[in-house]
């Protein structure tokens, strides 16, 4: 079903250009819509549709070392994982989404040429570590965790908000191997006045005046057991596009903190107030029941922090016909910020009644958790299928979008219409 990258095959853009011309942008014909759905349309998943312009410009394109992913933008590269790769709980490296903020993306380097600088005004000293040193001098840890872009599903916001108009695939789940950030920081020492840990990657801004992409974490989060400087992903070195040779892993927190091509770590006694902390990646204060970043509360909004509970049905598409008598197989993934998934309930009558799905193997509290429920189909007619995940802290998905200006935390329950025939 999946389209080939735009080499020779009919792509969505070529199709539009040939069949209807540029004017088709606002009014996609039904056939185009079906094609668009393959390229990351979200209506097929029982969710609001991403903008027409986003669909019209989407193509499948394979970055070096990657399978064809849904192209959002070429420069900087933003590529989304198609739904078919979410039919397993671990996302393959080659299909893992790609997100960069600035056009000055790092050039591929040899692992031996990489160095991590550690220091800062609230650090006891300063040091540089090679990858070999990190691997040799610190205990290696492995954990499974979801990396999800803060703006995953932004394209589904109604009304739409500007930004990268992601569908459902700006996320992935991998087994990460690395060393604890806290162990590395302990080597140089952390002073009592430490407030934040500031992280910078090797990416650079295209212009001198463009703010470099630098993020910070509360020191207690950065010093957590599960925050890693990772060098392996699913048993392989990280792909270049996902941060080779080393990136930060902040399980439970949104992808913005998972700095790729990590270059420096600075322990700071003051809040980091660059654009990416003070202005971007912020949400109205108190709108979501997520952890508070207390040292960053100096304006009416607050930084996005950890993820909200969510799920994705991967086995059904809107309008799918199911032969009567054949069970309706509702399968998918659920995740949250590390409380773990308590249950996933499935409804096949538009939310009137719910039944608990069977959960798959527990791969850890930060991991995708598979769910599955087989629903008998005894009568003809339309059915609305929904899935609702609840975390072990009792948090559940919302029925209606909690709108916010930057388009974060979309965890609206899907509504997939199927026809029993």
């Amino acid at each position: 079903m999946m389209e080939k990258p735009d080499k020779g095959g009919v792509t969505r853009r070529n199709f539009l250009a040939g069949a209807a011309g540029a004017g088709a942008l606002a009014t996609l014909a039904p056939a185009s819509r079906a094609l668009a759905a393959q390229l990351g349309g979200t209506g097929a998943l029982g969710l609001a549709e991403i903008p027409d312009g986003t669909l019209a410009e989407a193509v499948m394109y394979a970055l070096p070392g990657k399978v064809p992913l849904i192209k959002k933008t070429y420069r900087p590269p933003n590529f989304e994982t198609p739904v078919e790769y979410f039919r397993t709980p671990i996302t393959p490296n080659k299909a893992f989404f790609v997100r960069y903020h600035l056009a000055g993306i790092p050039q591929p380097i040899k692992a031996a040429d990489w160095q991590l600088a550690v220091g800062g005004d609230a650090a006891g000293g300063a040091a540089k570590f090679t990858l070999a040193q990190l691997k040799k001098e610190f205990k290696q840890v492995e954990l499974t965790a979801v990396c999800q872009c803060s703006g995953n599903r932004r394209g589904l916001f109604e009304p739409h908000v500007p930004g990268v108009e992601w569908g459902v695939g700006a996320m992935g789940n991998a087994v990460w191997r690395g060393v604890r950030l806290k162990d590395v920081l302990a080597k140089v020492g952390v002073k009592p006045g430490a407030l934040e840990v500031v992280l910078d990657g090797a990416d650079t801004a295209p212009l001198a005046k463009t703010p470099d992409f630098v993020k910070s974490l509360p020191v207690d989060v950065a010093m957590g057991e599960d925050v890693l400087i990772a060098f392996d992903m699913n048993g392989q070195p990280l792909p270049h596009w996902n941060g080779f040779p080393a990136r930060l892993i902040v399980p439970g927190w949104t992808g913005t903190y998972w700095i790729k091509q990590l270059a420096s770590v600075r322990v700071s006694s003051t809040p980091e107030k660059n654009f990416w902390m003070s202005t971007a990646y912020r949400q109205p204060r108190g709108l979501f029941k997520t952890p508070t970043f207390t040292s960053q509360l100096y304006s009416p909004n607050e930084p996005i922090t950890a993820m909200v509970v969510n799920s994705l049905i991967t086995s059904l598409r809107n309008g799918q016909q199911i032969p009567r008598g054949k069970p309706l197989e509702v399968r998918g993934l659920a995740w949250d910020r590390g409380n773990g998934i308590a249950k996933v309930e499935v409804s096949s009558d538009a939310g009137a009644t719910w039944a608990e799905a069977k959960l798959g193997k527990d791969l850890g509290r930060y991991s995708f958790r598979e769910f599955a429920l087989s629903v008998p189909t005894r009568e003809d007619g339309g059915r609305v299928v929904m899935a609702r995940a609840t975390s072990r802290s009792g948090e559940t998905q919302v029925e209606h979008l909690i709108h916010n200006p930057a388009g974060y935390h979309h965890n609206v329950i899907q509504r997939i219409y199927v026809d029993i025939v």
Binding site: A22, L25, A26, Y74, R75, A103, G163, P206, L207, T210
Partner: protein
């Protein structure tokens, strides 16, 4: 200078960024000024954010590029760029 920056970035990233030459903007008044956006990012950012912003929304986006990201777009070009974007990639008029 703008061209130089864009070309440098394209060369650095090799074949990947070359793909963006496939991205075309609709012809119309103001297109030449809107092409300045390509100094820092591929033009598909424009298509991706269509069609849901009105002229005020596009003006806010262009001003963000200048004020937050340091885009070297002359202030006097803002209205023409936002007008072009609203006309060609803006929210369709209510029916």
């Amino acid at each position: 200078m703008r061209t130089l920056v864009a070309v440098t970035v394209l060369l650095a990233a090799g074949g990947v960024f070359a793909q963006e030459s496939k991205v075309k903007l609709i012809d119309g008044p103001g297109k030449d000024k809107a092409m300045q956006c390509a100094a820092c990012h591929s033009l598909d950012y424009i298509h991706m954010n269509s069609r849901f912003l009105d002229k005020a929304g596009w003006t806010a986006s262009v001003n963000k590029m200048i004020n937050a990201f340091g885009a070297p777009i002359p202030k006097e070009d803002v209205d023409a760029i936002a007008g072009y974007l609203a006309q060609n990639y803006g929210k369709p008029p209510a029916k």
